[in-house]
Amino acid sequence: MKLKSVSSIIIIAIFLAGAFMPAGLKQYQLNMLTEIIIFSLYAVSYNLLLGYAGLLSFGHAMFFGLGAFMTAVAIIHIPGLTLWNTILIALVATIVAGFVIGGLLLRTKGAYFALLTLAFNSLFYAVATKWHTVTGGDDGLSIKRPDLHLGFTTIPMAGLTPFYYLTLIIVGAAIVFCWYFTHTAMGKTVLLMRENEDRMKFLGYDTNISRLILFTFTGAVAGLAGTFYTFHFQFVSISAISVDMTTAVLLMTFVGGTKTFWGPILGAFVYIILQNYLSDITDRWPLFMGIIFVFMVLFIPGGLSEVIMNIRQRLFGKKDNNGRKSTVTEEVTS
């Protein structure tokens, strides 16, 4: 009970802080922050698969890219499409794709699953590259952000600041919803399935259905992130659906840490800022990213959030250990 009210206060505080950001930040910093929020959602959705369900996918970019492309294609081909309907179309497309692909791939596990997700990502990439008339192929698609219709008024979305607020509210709400999801019965089921699937089956849970629902859900969330990615850059190219986009989310999630909910958000922060900083000083920033990634895998498998948790426990560990074991383990498993 107490944990939940503390979390709510933190969430409200973050949103309030986010609301004041446009006043204090320069234009390019606000640009970066918008990107960070979008990629946070993408990373959070990935971590629901990897951290919570223990499913290692190398194909998350297919949903991100599908959402991004559906958005651009819908805006180009349907004149006068509203912002909400654009999001809706992209969501429906990713849900259908997630359901079909999940149904096919979730029959396999572990390394098989990882390999097949990579293969399907490549299929999506190949289709996006070759289907030039729809996706624009190597040239990509340029769009204009649709305005936001609220019934009584219309807010133009051409400027960065209104779009930033839109991102903060909708993408932020989606992240909070993901967090809420991990606390629902469904979220707990997924977690327990990772720990002991046989026991869950024995208790009468249909683990295949649960896994399919989770896979479809994370796909849809990644698709929403993709939609906002297209809105943000007002452009989408095949890089959005390439394996590099999967590598990016893998890096974010891993740098941040898979064992906490907020780890991937921290990872997205670090990744985007590092990327901007490194790409200024060297052309070879992917190499540095790769080295950081392998270093993390080898020496800090829990990511930055584990480091922070360890420090916190060392400083305040005694207090937490009074009644219950500690907040660390509680957050890891709940």
Partner: protein, 287 residues
């Protein structure tokens, strides 16, 4: 209809290359239960090393064919001993992530050193010439690839099933604790298997150089096809890899001839069908 025999031979050549790549992959997976995402990156390294050797020393392919597998063997042993073994205790996800990260780093290093553009490898001599069989003029090199694949496959099968080394290998896989107790150095066996897989990938890379162009995307390209081969053939099955390589090689080749627009989707379609009908692959054991 006169193209048919030519495309059939093209298919055989590509099947040969696919087998060389996927044999190492499926060997490492079957023996160590590690799916090596860096396998194709090491194959690419083999191709680039070969390019440099051909440029600086000799135009003959025999030198890189012997040297590159050796270099890759050492790299593979190093990776297994100092990187893979460290993360083994954390489980399979960590191993996959490590090899994925290594593939990423190797690709970036290749771009850094050799540049982000295709390099052409030309071989002269007998291998670069053409020969006339059954009234068709055909490049010798493509036939050479197929022969190499047969040679490598036969040697692997003989080692695995007919020698003492093969028995030790299979024992270490089946029951590593018992093998260890009986005096087999199991960690060394695993290091050897991984290094041998890497050497095979290097060999395949050298072979691929003159057939396909050498460029930083070549790893990604072959990786997917090799994955499809081991999914269709069955994980860890050498015989499955042979059959699946032949099917996919011919499918690729005739796909380009008969349905040029659909050719990229055909391979995935085959994989999807196999997944639906028999998820463990044609020759795989049930999971």
């Amino acid at each position: 209809m006169s193209e048919f025999p030519v495309f059939f031979l093209h298919g055989l050549a590509y099947a040969g290359l696919l087998f060389l790549v996927s044999a190492g992959l499926t060997l490492v997976f079957g023996m160590m239960n590690v799916l090596n995402f860096a396998h194709a990156a090491m194959y690419m390294l083999g191709a680039y090393f070969s390019y440099s050797i051909l440029m600086h020393f000799t135009g003959q392919l025999w030198l890189p064919l012997m040297v590159c597998p050796l270099i890759l063997f050492i790299i593979g042993a190093f990776i297994e001993r100092f990187l893979l073994r460290r993360v083994h205790v954390y489980g399979h996800v960590q191993e996959l992530l490590l090899t994925f990260g290594l593939a990423y780093i190797i690709t970036e290093l290749v771009k850094l050193y050799w540049g982000n553009y295709p390099l052409a490898v030309n071989i002269g001599g007998f291998l670069g010439s053409t020969v006339s069989i059954f009234g068709i003029t055909y490049p010798v090199y493509r036939l050479f690839i197929f022969l190499c694949a047969i040679f490598v496959g036969t040697v692997m099968a003989l080692i695995l099933y007919k020698t003492r080394l093969g028995i030790i290998l299979r024992a270490a896989v089946n029951d590593s604790e018992m093998a260890n107790t009986l005096g087999v150095n199991v960690p060394l066996v695993f290091m050897g298997v991984f290094a041998f897989g890497a050497a095979l990938s290097g060999f395949a890379g050298v072979i691929a150089g003159p057939l396909l162009s050498t460029f930083p995307g070549m790893a990604q390209e072959i990786l997917i096809d090799a994955f499809v081969v081991i999914v269709v053939g069955g994980f860890g099955s050498l015989g499955g890899a042979v059959v699946a390589s032949l099917i996919i090689g011919e499918l690729q080749s005739f796909g380009v001839l008969l349905f040029p627009k659909l050719s990229i989707a055909l391979v995935y379609l085959l994989m999807a069908v196999v997944l639906i009908l028999k998820p463990s692959g044609l020759f795989g054991e049930e999971q």
